[in-house]
């Protein structure tokens, strides 16, 4: 076909055919190299983006695994905590713990409490939840009242960002969130070892909070766990049963054709449509509670079902017919051949497909927004019927929060989510390598 590309005729001095071919070859080889370069460029584009995405998220998020806290020697003053001395729970609950924490900080930093405003400025360095931490400590150890105890108290998000070198000191003092004085205190506390970056266990245990330093993915992790369990208990048995039927027993007729077309389509239906289905059927019609992880699990199970069915069918289809024939030959029924021989041999493939399906469900956000998982849930849910959030939904909520400190939290939660997904996918790959069988 290259012949047609050559000049067909020339009226004037004709170049020899070797010259024509030679010039053509140079051109064609150049085109060949260019074409290959396009391919390489496309691959490099994809890989570069992958690197940028990961490095951006990790560089923004790794600091969220550390959290600044003050080590304070707090005098648990009985006059403030429990003036009556009766140790009643209500009195202990209502006491002014933030005053205790602020006093301890002032003492530690050797600030003169008589200078106006200094006490408040120092108090602003502590997390607004400092009093809750102290209160819980006292409620756990009521015997310590009247003693001086050594406790770690979370620092405010602003102080935290100074510790992580994320605070811009160049901005004029009036527009900064921390004054020069406060910055000096922080620097001194850090130098004296009063203020330290510690591993952030709160990120994994706290629920929703309006303060970045006490916001965590605890509720989301539990919610996601309940949902994954629901998916596992519903989608996997149903999917495997459906796949066995379609692959081994179903007659070829209109109904099974319809089922197949349906499954292929459901695999490509936008996930948000499943969310609308969940809202209309599970919440409106069946009256299940909104924001419950059970409903989220049901929706995700319906979404994962086609993936499980398709993976299971592929795994069953890969088992050679000779296995079935051998089983039938020694007198097994068809059902026995399938349950005793085909399914165990297809098990690794089914497992791999299931893990990948569940990993997909774990990262899914849109359908969960539809069923009200966008909720401010502080308490860790104990049953799947209580309000909860999910890991990706938590990321969505933090991503839209205005506070600067939440960007770090969002990236941190994203790292946790990606770590879970990577773990599941690696397990799937290992299982496939380990049990893969070539017939």
């Amino acid at each position: 076909m290259t012949v047609t590309a050559l000049p067909t005729s020339g009226a004037r001095a004709k170049p020899s055919s070797t010259e024509i071919v030679a010039s053509g070859i140079r051109r064609r080889y150049a085109a060949e190299r260019r074409f290959k370069m396009y391919g390489i460029a496309a691959v490099i584009f994809g890989l570069t983006f992958l690197v940028i995405l990961f490095s951006s998220i990790i560089s923004k998020g790794y600091t969220s695994f550390l959290q600044s806290a003050f080590r304070l020697e707090v005098f648990l003053d009985p006059a403030i905590i429990d003036p009556s001395g009766k140790r009643e729970e209500n009195t202990l609950l209502m006491a002014d713990y933030s005053a205790l924490a602020t006093d301890a900080l002032i003492k530690a930093l050797k600030i003169d409490p008589k200078v106006r405003g200094d006490e408040r400025a120092a108090g602003a360095l502590l997390s607004q939840n400092a009093d809750v931490e102290l209160r819980d400590y006292v409620l756990r150890n009521p015997g310590e009242i009247g003693k001086t105890v050594n406790v770690w108290v979370l620092a405010h998000a602003n102080a935290d960002s100074v510790m992580k070198n994320a605070f811009d000191r160049e901005i004029p003092e009036a527009r900064r969130k921390l004054s020069d004085k406060q910055l000096a205190w922080i620097d001194r506390a850090a130098a004296e070892g009063l203020l330290k970056l510690r591993f952030n266990t709160g990120l994994f245990t706290y629920g929703a909070s309006s303060q970045p330093e006490t916001a965590g993915v605890g509720v989301a992790l539990i919610g996601s766990f309940f949902m994954m369990m629901t998916v596992l208990l519903l989608a996997v048995p149903l999917g495997v049963m459906a796949a066995v039927y379609l692959e081994e027993f179903a007659p070829r007729n209109r109904l099974t054709d319809l089922i197949e077309v349906n499954i292929n389509n459901l695999a490509a239906v936008p996930s948000i449509v499943f969310g609308i289905l969940g809202l209309a059927i599970f919440i409106n019609l069946f009256g299940l509670p909104r924001s419950a992880s059970l409903v989220g699990g049901l929706v995700l199970a319906l979404m994962t079902l086609p993936t499980v069915i398709i993976a299971t069918r592929a795994a069953i289809g890969a088992v050679p017919p000779s296995i079935r024939e051998a089983a039938l030959g020694v007198g097994a029924s068809k059902m026995q051949a399938v349950t005793h021989h085909v399914l165990p041999l297809a098990f690794p493939g089914i497992l791999t497909g299931t893990i990948i399906g569940i990993a997909k469900a774990l990262g899914e956000t849109a359908p969960l927004l539809m069923i009200g998982m966008v909720a401010f849930v502080v308490e860790v849910p104990k049953t799947p019927l209580e309000p909860a959030t999910a890991l990706p939904v938590q990321i969505y909520m933090w991503a839209t929060a205005a506070e600067r400190g939440f960007v770090e939290r969002t990236s941190g939660a994203t790292i946790i989510l990606l770590a879970f997904l990577a773990m599941m996918n690696i397990i799937a790959v290992i299982l496939r390598r380990r049990f893969e069988r070539r017939w």
Binding site: K36, K60, A280, M335
Partner: protein, 487 residues
């Protein structure tokens, strides 16, 4: 007995049935198992099925019917003046009765009779038990609530007794039916077959559920807004839902700006994903050495495994501001959320989707076609451009259509990176909004299922479903047709 416990009891009886069945089967042939038609555990399974299936079916049917029957009876017991009120008021009344019925469980009989006689304040009594009532219930409400509780209690007793009796009866029948000549395996396997056949219909039920639930609410929506105004309106301005007002505030629900936003972002996404995906597929299948392929292919596919919320977050905090600053430095006003931002990031997400599908399709082109082309003296790229790609074209078109359907239905990237203002614009640097964004914004927060502001989301969902369904069916048809061509 609570439902969970009842089901558990039936299941336990089933296990008992299984054990008894196995024992009876063994005993009936005095240990000479060869005389049995089936292995003993099939007799056990048959007894188990007899015990569990009828009882569970009846209990489940009862549980579905119970609330309907009771609320009907309660409704009938209400005074006629109440029955004549509007639907909204009736829903409220029934809700109050439910709350009162729940509260009555915590009160002693004397307290209840006091409340009925009007001697005691019901709201305060319930408050002390930790139950909040909005307003003091009328006497007829208390009567209705008492009726509801009596009926619920009676129903509870009936279903417990009935379910357990049925399970025991089934156990007896299953047990007595066991004899060595009985074909227990065939029966058990038939039940298993019916079970797995039923499981395979879940896919159809899901699709039917999607279509019906959305169709129903969409028709409801069209009773508020004319279909012409929805499909051909050019203004999207739903206003806020005015709670309590019948019909809600007037708003304009024009689909066109949303449809345009969706299409525009998809076009941008595809113009990133298709060239990059296609070229990398060509490179992977025709040029790359085996080692490169085994390393790079899984790496590229990681892009497909990253949740879309992560892409959305990246677009929001990193890519959007970057593009905005870049635009500012060369004097272009690009907003951080724009068609370009959302489309580009979505395009990156779609790269592995296009490339792995195209890869399969290119690999399916028979080697003989390539060899023929090489034999005529064509270079590799000439062969690809003039032989392989034209031969693979239908399949590639199918892959692109599937990618387009993904792009249309994608939600989280556009929610975070495309903007929320409905905009009919050709400017790529301005924010637009999409169908999916509007579904999310209309359905999160407080819902009121009578207002067009909420119902419009179902109409949008149905539109989205129909669009993607058409694309999917057509694309899958093309891909299948193409595969058959070379098989």
């Amino acid at each position: 007995m609570p439902n969970g416990l009842l089901i558990l009891c039936i299941a336990l009886l089933g296990v008992v049935g299984w054990l008894l069945g196995v024992m009876r089967a063994r005993a009936s042939v005095k240990g000479q198992l060869a005389k049995l038609h089936s292995r003993p555990h099939y007799y056990g399974a048959s007894a188990l099925l007899w015990t569990v299936l009828p009882a569970t079916a009846v209990v489940l049917a009862w549980l579905v019917a119970e609330p309907i029957v009771i609320s009907n009876a309660v409704y009938k017991s209400l005074p006629e003046s109440v029955q004549a009120e509007s639907t909204a008021v009736q829903t409220l009344t029934m809700g109050t009765i439910d709350a009162v019925a729940h509260g009555l469980r915590f009160l002693t009989p004397t307290e209840i009779s006091d409340a009925r006689a009007g001697k005691a304040n019901m709201v305060e009594m319930l408050q002390s038990k930790g139950i909040a009532l909005a307003a003091a219930p009328r006497p007829y409400m208390i009567n209705a609530a008492l009726l509801q509780n009596t009926m619920a209690d009676a129903s509870r007793q009936m279903v417990t007794v009935g379910g357990l009796a049925l399970a025991l009866l089934g156990l007896a029948i299953g047990y007595l039916r066991i004899n060595p000549a009985r074909r227990a395996r065939n029966g058990v396997e038939r039940v298993m077959l019916i079970g797995i056949a039923a499981a395979s219909t879940v896919a159809i039920l899901t699709t039917a559920g999607i279509v019906l639930s959305m169709l129903f609410e969409t028709l409801h929506f069209f009773s508020h807004v004319a279909p012409m105004d929805f499909f051909f309106g050019t203004v999207w301005d739903p206003r806020f839902s005015a709670a309590g007002r019948a019909g809600g505030a007037e708003g304009q629900f024009g689909l066109l700006p949303l449809l345009w936003g969706t299409t525009y972002i998809s076009i941008v996404a595809l113009s990133v994903a298709v060239p990059v995906g296609l070229f990398s597929a060509v490179y992977m299948s025709e040029y790359a050495s085996k080692t490169v392929r085994t390393i790079v292919k899984p790496l590229l596919e990681i892009l497909a495994g990253i949740p879309t919320i992560v892409y959305g977050f990246f677009a929001l905090v990193t890519f959007g501001p970057f593009v905005r600053d870049l635009g500012a430095s060369i004097g272009l006003g690009i907003s951080a959320t724009s068609v370009l931002t959302a489309g580009f990031i979505m395009g990156v997400m779609l790269i592995p989707f296009v490339s792995s599908l195209s890869d399969d399709i290119i690999n399916a082109v028979p080697q003989s076609l390539r060899d023929g082309s090489y034999g005529l003296g064509a270079t590799k790229s000439e062969t690809i451009k003039r032989v392989v790609l034209p031969a693979a074209l239908p399949g590639i078109v199918g892959a692109v259509l599937l990618a387009a359907s993904r792009a249309i239905g994608e939600t989280m990237i556009v929610v975070l990176a495309a903007g929320i203002a409905a905009n009919l614009t050709l400017n790529m640097f301005e924010p637009v909004t999409t169908i999916t964004v509007k579904i999310v914004s209309q359905l999160t927060g407080d819902l009121e299922f009578n207002s067009p502001q909420t119902l419009v989301a179902f109409a949008l969902g149905l539109t989205l479903f129909v669009c993607t369904l058409a694309l999917n069916v057509y694309a899958l048809y093309i891909v299948r047709k193409y595969r058959e061509q070379y098989e």
